[in-house]
Point group: C2
Chain length 575, copies 2
């Protein structure tokens, strides 16, 4: 630990007042415990308490996963902040071993910084954030992640989180804080202005935790590598525990398209939600309400919906006076009316070009293909699917056609061994992304995996055991971009199996699969041709010698003849 | 709908006050929204709001799953309540179709009832309950389930929940309520005494919701069937939407063993938790603290731990004055000291006998085997694994040995087709249970499934593709009983992959597998023998005729000889 004094110097003797306060809070949190008769001891459960006990739901179930989760949550936040502030992100991740199974995880960005009044809540309170109540694409959405990392750190080491942040206009602030899990509130140990000359603006967070650092498919390294693929505008620096520095340079200076918050689409709104919205709107007419609170509804459409609803509803009806019966009719009318799809400027896909660039840069393969779908909707939330496939290991059996029409074995320089493309006798590797964030765990429970196994890869010339992944030297990348990604748990590791999502992923895989099929069939033809030609070529020199004897040629004439023969042979091949 | 007036009659016109209140609450919930500068619009997220948007985390992602989840949460609560009050449970589940895709789900039990002051919070507030803060085995533990079902009902129909409850001493009370998701508080529409002559005590809950009712592997029917297997003391009545009544009678009048709340085991306590406990204890010495707040620590052990910790700590040190440095030493000392395993009377496994009875009653197979393990610990929480296997479909190729030593095909009467035992060419069916609750979804993401695929079933004579489930006409049942089951999400569908749990499940599967292996090998020998004998038997009548001719026997003598020959042949077979 390079700076032990940073950590909670006041904690060496817990003052009595703290104890009393904690006791009081506990009593407040449990008003029923003392009174409740029958339902013995029923009482409130604080969110932080809940997740402290269920920390595996947040992804903190093992030391090797914990380090990844902490890095992931911090990097996600940095990327979101940079995008919102239109900054080309540069993020530095430092992993420092400070004990047998303890690490200090530091993430520093060049983002816009956080005002000091917000630091406590952002890092020391679960379910607090700016992204939950918006409908626009962002990595974070729950307001849990980074506070959870701090909570895990405190749970395993007893030590608070250190945050340094500087906004463009403000002075750098250093805060030492932790989460009070009994009350789900930040506990600020100290907060003061400091010098931070290295940065004009940005945030640095340091968390000490019990952790294990490993390489491999589900490591921090792999997460960062995949993050680089999905975020070609990002420069990432990793300093690993041995002190070695790895740099992933940005591929493009083009920032992702700015996304726009949207209003809910009428078709995705449940009955109960509609009633709540009617209660809470400030609009003074149903017509205004429909146009104001939803996307894609104009005066004409509003009129048509209200007419369809009937039941005493007119355009001028007062929204908050709508009876439940009437709301039911309105709900049915909305769902039976054709309304155009939600706007898609709330979503920023990676884009075919950049996806291809990213794949080529980070994955070595023989063949690359990408595909993307137009935006679709589940439960009123727009989403969009992109697929990229990298096929064939270099140094494998890959064959290619030269400019002169020859077939030859590929001779690309082999890069360092890549884990990302599978071997020929293994199931294809899957790279899953949600809003540009790689998902490394819970692969089998994810809608993306289900979509891949449900796709018939045999059509495209691949092996596929029934109900399994295709077996091929291949990596399949799937990206879902959405204003609200339905993760199966708070750890954001897998996507829930909504039918609409599975359908779209499958369609997109089929688009990419068809292109891959053409390549594979061509490859198989090439292979057959190659084998035949190889036999012939083996005998050409002998033919040359025979011709030399018959026609009495000199050696140069003979070699010329052989060369011409080979050339004719190759060019005569038809595809 | 048989009684529309039950539902929120006051709601037909939303009074203005409600609106203003809601607005005010929204403003209170978002204090930062108006002030926050840089972190634009960051604000608190209510737990109920969070789960309303993420309702798939609670299992409410599709109409067919929703009906199952609602039944499950209500039945779980009923069972827990009956067990706590030492009542033999009788639970009645009624599913009534009230519209195209709408159902009324009613669950009624003979439990102890709920005091009227508690009804609101139990059914109308997430994260409220009596089981979270205890370490003892129960089905519910989160304080989320039944309120979530009500929330989903309100979200899809706009209608509140109806609860009737009667305690032994109180009068029956009917409450109409829903959850105010913006504030995570119950909104009681009405609460009054009513007549309920049918019951001396019990609770009935009625929820209307958008739902689909289907039969099949993941249906309400299957959930109830499996619940009956794991809860042999339960009588369950299902009235399905067609009005048909199915009854699962109890198998035994023996109630599950009463479980006892335990204190945390010292070895499972994280550093941060230890610090919090030190702060909050009312003990006035470290020695007392260790003995009072943990299980399995007596004066001698406490002394040894404190001595090992050193660093200025004595038995009389004041717990709340412990420095973090000292707490660290104490934590290390605890973990390096040998402490006996936690007591297991906090766990009530089903037991081999009842498990076997349950399997035999609900699953038709040729062979049954069970196995169980002693209690083990993960993160300080005791847990225990039980396994049951039902092998071989009746009417399949099963062979058996008769009392006279003959081999014959089994001739059991075939019951109605059972979905629970797989066909011979299909992967084995898995029945997963946690604290006697069947888990029907997310099989692939569950630690139990992982343990089964990681077990080498080929050793026991079964087919098993690499990394897959064994392929056999077989159902594998695994039950984990624990004071705290680590579910992967709030929907409680799969168990998190803690190493300790996977190890124990695998060991228990191996125990059962060995016994199964003996049966399978015997079966294979029987099959070979049977084939040989069949050839011989085919020729015995011909031998009889030949003997008759040679020895000039009459028909009776010939038949006697043939019978004797067959008998000798069968008895001579050796195992």
């Amino acid at each position: 630990m390079d700076n032990p004094s940073l950590f909670d110097p006041s904690d060496s003797e817990v003052p009595q007042t703290t104890k009393k306060k904690a006791k009081k809070a506990a009593a407040e949190a449990a008003p029923a415990a003392s009174k409740g008769k029958g339902a013995s001891g029923a009482r409130d459960i604080s969110v932080a308490e809940f997740f402290e006990k269920n920390r595996h739901m947040l992804g903190f179930d093992s030391p090797s996963k914990a380090i990844l989760m902490a890095v992931k949550e911090a990097v996600d936040n940095s990327l979101d902040a940079c995008e919102e502030a239109s900054i080309l992100p540069t993020i530095r991740v430092e992993l420092e071993q400070i004990g047998d199974s303890f690490f200090k995880v530091c993430i520093e960005d060049n983002g816009p910084g956080i005002p000091d009044t917000q630091i406590g809540k952002i890092f020391g309170k679960l379910l607090y954030g700016s992204k939950f109540h918006k409908l626009s694409q962002s990595r974070g959405q729950q307001g849990i992640g980074i506070s959870a990392a701090g909570m895990y750190g405190k749970l395993t080491t007893g030590k608070p989180v250190r945050v340094i942040s500087k906004t463009r206009r403000g002075r750098p602030v250093e805060a030492i804080l932790s989460i009070d899990s009994l009350r789900n509130k930040p506990e600020i140990h100290s907060s003061q202005e400091i010098e931070w000359p290295e940065r004009k603006h940005g945030t640095r967070v340091e968390i000490e935790m019990e952790a294990t650092y490993k390489k491999g498919v589900r490591s921090v390294d792999m997460y960062l590598k995949q993050t680089a693929i999905a975020n070609p505008h990002l420069t990432l620096i990793l300093v690993d525990p041995s002190g070695e520095e790895f740099v992933y340079d940005r591929n493009t200076k083009e920032k992702p398209a700015k996304t726009i918050d949207i209003k809910p689409h009428p078709h995705g709104v449940e009955m109960g939600r509609l009633i709540t919205m009617l209660k809470e709107t400030s609009c003074r007419s149903i017509s205004g309400f429909l146009q104001e609170e939803f996307c894609r509804v104009g005066p004409t459409l509003a009129k048509r919906i209200i007419k369809e609803a009937g039941n005493g509803l007119t355009e001028k009806s007062y929204p908050t006076r709508t009876a439940r019966e009437q709301a039911g009719h309105l709900h049915r009318a909305i769902n039976s009316t054709k309304i155009s799809s939600p706007p898609t400027d709330c979503i920023a896909p990676i884009g075919d070009d950049l996806l291809l660039k990213g794949l080529k840069k980070e994955l070595t393969a023989d063949f690359y293909v990408t595909a993307s779908r137009p935006a679709a909707v589940y439960r009123g939330n727009p989403f969009q699917i992109e697929v990229g496939i990298a096929y064939g290991k270099p140094g494998g059996v890959g064959l290619e056609l030269t400019d002169t029409g020859r077939i030859q074995k590929k001779t690309k320089a082999e890069k360092a061994v890549e884990d990302l493309v599978a071997n020929a006798d293994e199931p294809a590797r899957i790279l899953r992304f949600a809003n540009r964030v790689p998902l490394l765990y819970q692969q089998s429970g994810c809608a993306i995996t289900k979509s891949i196994t449900q796709t018939n890869w045999r059509t495209y010339g691949l092996n596929q055991p029934r109900g399994s992944l295709p077996v091929a030297p291949m990596a399949i990348m799937v990206h879902i971009a959405s204003v609200w990604v339905p993760f199966t748990s708070e750890s954001k590791e897998a996507i829930a199996s909504y039918d609409e999502i599975i359908t779209e992923v499958k369609r997109c895989l089929q688009d990419a699969g068809r292109k891959l099929g053409i390549y594979i069939r061509k490859g198989k033809r090439l292979k057959r041709e190659f084998d035949k030609r190889e036999y012939i070529e083996k005998y050409i020199p002998h033919i040359g010698i025979a011709l030399q004897e018959i026609l009495d040629l000199d050696d140069t004439e003979r070699d010329d003849t052989v060369e011409t023969l080979e050339d004719v042979l190759h060019r005569s091949r038809k595809f």
